[in-house]
């Protein structure tokens, strides 16, 4: 019997799941429901659309031919209710849709700010393509913008608006940028890059209210008493998983929809993937959320396998992301903890896009650094392995260290030599990482 697979959500987790289902079960009915009417697009690419580095159509992820081959029944509609016992979902305009297997790939949504005036015309966020279009339209008229928040999205908003000729004030609540992941010297490199792009940084400063004129943003009032006239307030204080459907249907929900390593939810035949899913800790601890493209792709594949009855499980190796921050390519992988003891980032009320909660783990072992005018490298070495790394501005070191962390390569051969000669420790680790990568490459070639 043909299985009816229904996917809710048109992001990369949903698309990847649909493609995997089609590949492994060519005769299945695959229906994807999403509120966005756009062709599938790269959400992280919106940063480069804002900055004017590429046109919108370039963000489209698949060609028309690829989509035809996928033979997907794609519905632009809103799911209003999930009825797991009846194995069906209710749609706003198309009535009822029955399923054999259901995937919730509902993504995440920006947290709304709570300062007075937060709902005024001119207060913007960056969740999707419609938001990016809205910001670009407003940037054509705006002279000045205030950006608040943290993580990659706040910087992308600041850099994108600056690239469009808007004067940008970036307000940080603390002393420096992204204190929960970066060390002070790393924040400084990003901040230098932002300043070089003409962005004005304000430390220990927060929005206390937004003044309006005929319902539109006119100025921002700050905690130090300053009044910053502006037409735009761009907010990126974090995102939260979209869990409303799952919660209303009685599924187990923590911050995200709780799933096991096979992405199964608490309801039979219902799976969750991507930003919306929260992986339960097998040891009973708190679950972890990722808002990463690579995680969403992996989730989509594993969830599709599980929907087909395969014994699929997620790869639980350390998470990696690469971001462009202040013009500096920044790689974060594994446990890198809070550099100066700050447990939280005052600029974020929830996880940011491009962020992983696992990075917050304080690494055990010793940290080694290498620094130059335009690069910062940090590697945390545990008993036998490199447990985490942050690399700004050095592609070679970033690849090699990320390989060591993800592969869990035994670096104990370097042993006490690292501590004895800390100045050359990073170089030794990078060399080891490159050698390990090459060994693996030649092994894969022989196999």
């Amino acid at each position: 019997m043909t299985r009816r697979h229904v996917i809710i959500g048109s992001g990369i987790a949903g698309l990847t799941a649909a493609e995997t289902l089609r590949e492994r079960d060519p005769g299945a009915e695959v229906t994807l429901v999403g509120a966005e009417a756009h062709p599938f697009y790269s959400r992280p690419g919106l940063a480069y659309l804002l900055a004017g580095a590429l046109p919108e159509r370039q963000l489209e992820l698949r060609t028309k031919a690829e989509l035809r081959a996928l033979a997907l029944d794609r519905l632009v509609d809103e799911v209003t209710a999930l009825e797991p016992e009846a194995h069906r979902v209710r749609l706003r305009t198309r009535g009822v849709l029955a399923y054999d297997r259901l995937l919730l790939a509902t993504g995440s949504a920006a947290v709304a700010p709570d300062f007075p005036g937060a709902t005024l015309d001119g207060v913007v966020k960056l969740d999707g393509l419609d938001d990016a279009r809205d910001i670009l339209r407003r940037a054509r008229r705006a002279r000045t913008a205030v950006v608040v928040g943290g993580g990659a999205t706040a910087v992308e908003l600041a850099e994108g608006l600056a690239a469009r000729g808007v004067r940008v004030h970036y307000l940080m609540r603390g002393a420096r940028y992204w204190a929960s992941v970066l060390e002070p010297a790393e924040s400084a490199l990003v901040e230098e890059g932002l300043a070089a792009e003409g962005i004005e940084l304000h430390r220990h400063e927060r929005v206390v209210g937004v003044d309006e004129e005929r319902g539109r943003v006119r100025a921002v009032r700050t905690s130090s008493g300053a009044v910053v006239p502006c037409e735009l307030v761009a907010v990126a204080i974090g995102v939260r998983p979209r869990v409303e459907l799952a919660r209303a249907a009685g599924l187990s929900v923590e911050r995200g929809i709780a799933v096991d390593a096979g992405l199964r939810t608490s309801a039979p035949d219902v799976f969750a993937a991507g930003d919306a899913a929260e992986l339960r800790d097998p040891d009973g601890g708190a679950g972890r959320c990722d808002v990463l493209w690579s995680s969403a792709v992996a989730h989509g594949r594993v969830a599709a396998g599980a929907m087909l009855g395969e014994a699929a499980a997620l790869d639980l190796r350390p998470r990696q992301n690469v971001m462009r921050l202040g013009g500096v390519t920044t790689t974060v992988v594994g446990a890198v903890g809070a550099g100066d003891g700050a447990a939280d980032d005052p600029d974020l009320v929830a996880i940011a896009r491009g962020d992983s909660e696992r990075w917050r783990d304080r690494p055990r072992g010793q940290a080694f650094h290498d620094r130059g005018a335009r690069f910062r490298i940090r590697a945390h070495v545990g008993e036998r392995t490199v447990v985490g790394a942050v690399v700004l501005g050095d592609a070679r070191a970033a690849r090699a260290l990320a390989h060591l962390v993800r592969a869990g390569t035994d670096v104990s051969a370097l042993g006490a030599g690292l501590s004895a000669d800390p100045e050359h420790a990073v170089a030794a680790l990078v060399a080891l990482g490159e050698a390990a990568e090459q060994r693996e490459a030649s092994g894969a070639a022989r196999a």
């Binding site: 790269s42 690469v322 790689t331 993800r406 490159e434």
Partner: protein, 89 residues
């Protein structure tokens, strides 16, 4: 791999060396499919498709001009030795 990574495609001799022994290699774990590589490829090659599959760009039409490598904001692309590892599946 690092030898090729240090070559500059803007220099004619380096470009010849790249064409002779190297190709653009991709790292799908670093790629977010933004499309900047495709947009900047003078020949319209589907670099993004290779990055999605993790395959190297072994297409004879590739000029080794390095535009995609230079423009990638996430360092998902780089020059490396031609090897059997990343042949397109």
């Amino acid at each position: 791999m690092s030898d090729f990574a240090l070559l500059d495609p803007a220099l004619p001799l380096d470009r010849l060396r790249l064409l002779a022994g190297a190709c653009v290699r991709t790292d799908p774990l670093r790629c977010v499919q933004c499309g900047l590589c495709n947009y900047n490829c003078p020949l319209g090659l589907d670099v993004r498709g290779h990055a999605r599959r993790g395959s190297s760009i072994l297409e004879p039409r590739c000029l080794a001009c390095g535009e995609c490598v230079r423009r990638c904001p996430r360092e998902a692309l780089g020059f490396g030795a031609r090897s059997a590892r990343q042949e397109a599946p």
